[in-house]
Symmetry: C2
Amino acid sequence: MLSPGPSLDLMFQALADPTRRLMLERLTKGPATVSQLAAPFSMSLPAVVQHLGVLEGSGLVRTEKIGRVRTCHIEPIAMRTAEDWIGERRTTWEKRLSALDAYLRRTE
Amino acid sequence: MLSPGPSLDLMFQALADPTRRLMLERLTKGPATVSQLAAPFSMSLPAVVQHLGVLEGSGLVRTEKIGRVRTCHIEPIAMRTAEDWIGERRTTWEKRLSALDAYLRRTE
DNA sequence: AGCATACTTAAGTAACCACTTAAGTATCAT
DNA sequence: ATGATACTTAAGTGGTTACTTAAGTATGCT
């Protein structure tokens, strides 16, 4: 392991689990309480809350507790951070490829 | 854990480690042999090869061995798969937000 | 007050992950 | 053929992750 980074670690780690991606997908349709978020899954509530903790720790999700109900929603800015990291590297490589391609065509 | 998916699991898992992201970053600048890829890191060669295995297993990197040298390069298509998954969810949520915003302004 | 709801805390476990060292194999160079 | 290079295989270890069950706390309802 090297540098901790601005928490790309935590974001990608959070995205690496299918349960958490489904939870994120659910939150795409609007905010949800912990119970609502847990409903589709067959696992225990504490397990769901632990997943939620990972999502929140990564910054991808924000939650707020009012009374006894905790409500969760997506944080699009954090999503963009992860997305951008991939995008930058991908396009750099694609540019290299097309430059090589052009070169090969020229020397052809 | 639920569905395995088309291996978004493996891609995001691969991206979750800073060493692997650095390796990917290196490969952005062009193909590299295993030794070249390992050079910047202080860890053992087998450790680097294990990381490389994760990257390759996720489809983000492709390698080919010629003689005794294994050469590695980025697979931009796989990168795009991961990128797109995030992007779709992020934009859906952003649309929801701006729709809500517009609604609030109208009723204001 | 008494009971249900909505989490929360704690503790334990089995599987996985990121390394390590040591030893091995396949090529290439002389 | 000999030695160096470029990985490869195997086995082990300590830390983390994804759960579990059991019990606890805080809030809202009647």
